[in-house]
């Protein structure tokens, strides 16, 4: 029963997050509309939870987003899931310290990987004549704005949350052997 409620709440949360992402892109004027709220929320959640579940949440959120796009099914889904997976690996193995600049680096690099994979698949589809054209300029322009606003939002939100909780502070040291909180 508890698990059922948890799953239901998770689905509801993902639907709301996807709808919020869609809604913000309608409400905000260009170029602010390019803010990728899903990436922002997922990266912050990843830093909060320390868990790889975030990859699956990303998978479902982008699956919902795919339902409202014309581009070949899977283009956004595959690239974004890989983007978030790379974010998780970056956080786990490279940017392991909890700081706003680590969050910014994770967000920036994962967004970059997301768009690179996106372009790579789009190029493949173009090669196989599934796509009629390759929107290099559009994707580049989108990436620039997306990068600026998403990374800034992650940095600002991270900074504010870290004022109220110790979870987002670099002073907390965790390892498999001990857990130590600096006073």
């Amino acid at each position: 029963m508890k698990l059922f409620v948890k799953v239901l709440l998770a689905i509801l949360g993902m639907v709301i997050l996807s709808a919020f992402h869609l809604g913000l892109s309608y409400v905000l004027p260009y170029p602010y509309a390019k803010l990728n709220i899903i990436f922002c929320v997922l990266i912050l959640l990843m830093l909060w939870w320390n868990s790889g579940y975030i990859v699956w949440i990303s998978f479902f959120c982008h699956l919902f987003i795919e339902l409202f796009t014309v581009s070949p099914f899977g283009l956004v889904l595959f690239s974004s899931t890989l983007g978030i997976l790379s974010a998780f690996w970056l956080y786990k193995y490279i940017f392991t310290n909890r700081s706003w600049y680590a969050a910014v680096a994770v967000a920036g690099i994962s967004l970059f990987i997301y768009r690179i994979v996106y372009l790579f698949i789009a190029a493949l589809l173009y090669l196989f004549k599934i796509l009629n054209y390759l929107p290099l300029k559009l994707v580049f322009a989108t990436f620039i704005w997306e990068f600026i606003f998403t990374v800034s939002t992650v940095a600002i939100v991270y900074f504010f949350i870290s004022r109220f909780t110790s979870r987002f502070r670099a002073s907390v040291i965790e390892s498999s052997v001990f857990r130590y909180e600096k006073k």
Binding site: A19, Y26, Y133
Partner: protein, 266 residues
């Protein structure tokens, strides 16, 4: 390293299977369920965006307000006179329409639909409408607003929703004709921001700024006569066989709320 490869392959397999299931149609019930969940939220956010876009946020001083009031009073008087004239014209118009039996002769049926969202992917410039396959919408059906202003064509259709490719989208192509002396033919293409471009107009034909552009009817599923826009600028190079015209769409394509889908063309 091995575990990372395994994770990567595992996730890729799941994504691959999802894509395969989508194209095989096995995901349709789940997709429709989630669309039903997301659509109302998307629709209300879209409506908010339209309302916000229509609001003018200005602050005025008292003198500005007095001047504006005076101006509005004068405009109101002029509009009253105009209204009486228009009422006369309207009754004449109704009479003439009845005589021409316009609707009967136009030969197409339409479906009303509401815009519930727009595409957020960087590849396309589309809107989502609440009318789908089960309502009679089909791919390539023209989508109009008002009394025949073309806004796009249906690019993808699902059971209850359709995605409309707007005329200013990169992949949009519409056969068109200019209302000028030569009735110049050309192809209206998107991908130029808020404007659209009419290409392949023969070099020797005369186009003027302000000329109206309509659909030529030289393509399947697209009747002649839907308004597309007006000529805003002309690009003419002496050594080129064709000239181009930059068109301004007649409606703001970012602020569409209600559309009609032309489903049957006789």
């Amino acid at each position: 390293m091995q575990s990372k490869t395994k994770t990567f392959l595992g996730i890729s397999t799941v994504v691959g299977l999802t894509i395969a299931c989508h194209y095989l149609g096995w995901l349709s019930p789940i997709e429709n369920f989630f669309r039903t969940l997301v659509t109302p939220l998307s629709k209300s956010m879209y409506n908010i965006s339209i309302r916000l876009g229509n609001e003018d946020v200005n602050s005025f001083s008292l003198t500005d307000l007095r001047l504006a009031y005076q101006k509005l009073k004068e405009e109101n008087l002029a509009l009253d006179v105009k209204l009486v004239n228009e009422q006369l014209l309207q009754s004449e118009n109704i009479e003439l329409k009845e005589q021409l039996n316009f609707v009967k002769n136009s030969g197409y049926q339409s479906l009303g639909a509401q815009v519930i969202g727009k595409n957020i992917d960087s590849l396309d410039n589309n809107i989502i409408i609440n009318c789908g396959l089960l309502d009679g919408c089909r791919v390539n059906n023209p989508v109009i607003v008002g009394n025949g202003v073309l806004v796009g064509k249906i690019a993808r259709v699902e059971d209850h929703i359709s995605i409309v490719r707007l005329i200013n989208d990169n992949q949009s192509k519409v056969a068109a004709t200019i209302i000028n002396k030569e009735q110049s033919l050309g192809l209206v293409e998107g991908g130029y921001g808020i404007s659209v471009m009419m290409n392949y107009i023969p070099q020797n034909e005369i186009i003027n700024v302000g000329d109206k552009v309509i659909t030529s009817g030289l393509e399947i599923n697209m009747p002649r006569g839907f308004l597309i826009g007006t000529v805003e600028a002309i690009e003419k190079e002496a050594y080129q066989p064709f000239q181009n015209a930059i068109l301004k769409p007649l409606v703001n394509l970012d602020k569409i709320l209600l559309v009609s889908v032309i489903t049957t063309i006789k």
